[in-house]
Amino acid sequence: MPGERNQDAGERLLPNGAAIIAAENCPALLTPAETRHFAALLRSEAARMRGENIVAARKQSLTEAVLGEVSGLEHAKDQSGTEHLYAHAHEIRGLAGMAGLSTAGRIANDLCHYLDALPADITLPDPMTVELHVRAIGRAARAPREAEDLGTAVAETLNRLAARNLTQTRSAVEPVRDAPPEAAKPDAP
């Protein structure tokens, strides 16, 4: 019967009837009593507070790490290709939130999405779009108080710029892709 366990074979058929086996014999990490004990700790306010204190105590070093990545990003924007640019923006989006630099993280995340969304055959992103994102990330990381006030408006403006640039890039690339091959074109009169 689908969904029921075949005790003899030690297997469980999935509810859709397809006979993919479920290996249910992976050992639990903890005994049932200790699982309850540990789960209660994981959900406790005390553990959460201790964890947040750990993050707060590392805020300074995390900020320094973000600023190091920002310098790398500023250097990478002048290099060819997007690999280094993406790598630094990716690190910033991962670390900035924990350093209390959420605006820098948000704009870095938007830059990653922009680079990800470029058509595969576009190797050079729009320099102005990149430049403005990089400047905004640098400013937001170095002047976090200012970023709190202006960050949302700047991020939204940059998002619109990136979206417009992507639309233009795609429309510039697609007619070339859709064009008939040279041999299929009718002869010129």
Partner: protein, 171 residues
């Protein structure tokens, strides 16, 4: 092996960013997990898995030379894997759908998006402890059951148009 005390759990943290490794290590210590091993990429992580036999793994996605997805595939599928069932929590800034799906298809147990919070990390650990996932094997996949909801109303043999009939394999 099932442990009688949670402070006997061993964890492996794989991340190329030293700040992130150190932070995750400290957060695990807060929970009483004293034995935490660090590795800077998937290659070193695989060696550490064999050497230290951790009970669960936290891994980044983007690393060089071996990234988190390749690392997860090795853990699940390599003939010499020390523990193909070990729970893997992927901690990543990559939230794009294609990357999340690639991680899931490699066999990760849970995803955790950066920037992490204490609460989100502890919630993922609670998930792997409280709800160990069944493992499935078919021609194209071995890993935790990717479906979190099993629809009782579905009566057909396959869920997707291109599903083929897999064989029953006892593990």
């Amino acid at each position: 092996m099932t442990k009688a005390h949670f402070d006997d759990l061993k964890a492996l943290v794989v991340d190329d960013n030293a700040h992130m490794r150190e932070l995750l290590h400290a957060l695990l210590n807060v929970l009483g997990i004293r034995e935490v091993v660090e590795a800077a990429d998937g290659e070193a992580g695989y060696v550490a898995l064999a050497q230290y036999q951790p009970d669960f793994i936290l891994t980044d996605l983007a690393m060089q030379p071996v990234d988190g997805i390749e690392f997860t595939r090795r853990v699940r599928l390599s003939p010499d894997t020390p523990n193909p069932f070990v729970p893997i929590i992927m901690v990543s800034g990559h939230t794009e759908r294609n990357r999340v799906e690639a991680a899931r298809d490699a066999g990760v147990t849970e995803m955790l998006a950066k920037p992490i919070t204490t609460q989100s990390l502890f919630a993922r650990i609670a998930e792997i402890v409280e709800h160990p996932r069944a493992f499935v094997r078919c021609d194209s996949y071995f890993g935790p059951d990717r479906r979190r909801r099993h629809g009782d109303s579905h009566s057909g043999p396959w869920l997707r148009f291109d599903d083929s009939a897999p064989d029953v394999v006892t593990i």
